[in-house]
């Protein structure tokens, strides 16, 4: 059916208001009316034209039982309607609470020493492991923990390197402790090198580390990096 002819729309609107548009056509027309403002306006116009006919009928008082039933229906409806706004309030409260938790968590995280995850273990082929290399989640801080296998070599330092997967130059991650642990903040260059690395290496260097920024002594150990976030 073509619905763009004003005369047809008007004829359908008039029969809809009159009540003679029945069956499936009535439902179709109501959907059309709900979707198209100009169709609805034709219906409004016909309601204004014809409704005085309904006003000619002598009024008929409803039984006393009708209003209490309406009131009960409205009251039953009310919590449902009322719930909408409280629902919004509850949502807002829940969001505020979430935000508070997130805030507290962030502050707690900032004030806590960052939790460090092992990213590599430097091992000899035999014997106990030498160092555990750990990194925090934000990749800001690196910690090297000397393990049972770490044996000092007098007159030397052990230096840790990030070996780029693209075979680029190793980047120093600092000197390793001979005992205990060393923790330091990574520079941007170190962080970038670490994130682009697949392996770590340890070289033997003069005390205090390589003077050139590149490994100068033999590479003693190579360890794969554990995948980290």
């Amino acid at each position: 059916m073509k619905h763009d002819q004003p005369q047809l729309i008007d004829a359908l609107a008039s029969e809809y208001v009159l009540g003679t548009l029945r069956g499936a056509a009535r439902g179709r027309f109501e959907r059309w009316m709900a979707a198209e403002w100009h169709v609805a306006s034709r219906v409004r116009a016909w309601e204004v034209r014809l409704m005085p006919l309904a006003l000619r009928l002598p009024p008929l008082e409803p039984s006393a039982a009708v209003w209490p039933k309406i009131e009960a229906r409205i009251a039953a409806e009310a919590p449902r309607m009322a719930r909408r706004r409280p629902a919004l309030r509850a949502l807002a409260a829940a969001l505020a609470l979430c935000a508070l938790f997130v805030g507290v968590y962030v502050v707690w995280q900032l004030t806590q020493p960052p939790s460090l995850q092992p990213i590599a273990t430097i091992e000899n082929k035999q014997g106990p492991a030498l160092w555990s290399i750990e990194l925090d989640a934000t990749q800001q801080r690196l910690r090297a923990v000397a393990l049972a296998g770490a044996v000092p070599r007098p007159g030397h330092s052990f230096e840790l390197w990030a070996l780029p997967s693209n075979k680029g130059a190793p980047v120093s991650l600092g000197v390793l402790p001979e005992a205990g642990q060393l923790e330091h903040k990574l520079s941007d260059a170190q962080r970038a090198a670490l994130s682009g690395a697949a392996q770590l290496a340890v070289s033997l260097e003069p005390p205090g580390g390589s003077p050139t920024g590149a490994p100068t002594g033999p590479v003693l150990y190579v360890a794969p990096l554990k995948t980290h976030a």
Partner: protein, 188 residues
Amino acid sequence: MSNSAGASNKEEELARLIEACAARDRHALRQIYDLMASQMLASMMRILRRRALAEEALQEVFVSIWQRAAQFQGTRGPARIWLLAIARHRAIDVLRSERMELYREADIESLPQSTVEGMGDWSSAGRSAAALERCFEELSGDQRRGIELAFVNGYSHADVARVTGEPLGTIKSWIRRGLASLRACLER
């Protein structure tokens, strides 16, 4: 106070009450009920014929007014007509169920009258009806009867054909031409 001033005051009052319903004022719904329920029931009763059925539909209408009150402003139409239209459409929707159509067919067989009985005169419809009355006078008797039976009694084309004994096509034509004439007259 003149009739039209009274009608216009009632109109403003109803519009205000519908808006109050949109703001969830239950007392306003009760006031609408006091002002309009008897008129709405009269209209629905003519269509549904059984009082229990009409009163049940009237309940639905007021719940619907309560739920749809916020939509009223958007219609930019008269409040009384908006309310009556909800009542009439509800009554016709109740009729639409097949069971009701069957019930009505049996009922209509027992209704010999082919005119709309028991109507008040036009003055009871208020001044807003004056133009419609004038234009109704211009219709042929058949056209007027067809439109009245359909609108007031809620008869379908087939119902009107049955009670008048005229062919269905003739009835459709009476009503279609009658509505077109009414519109042309009302727009003059």
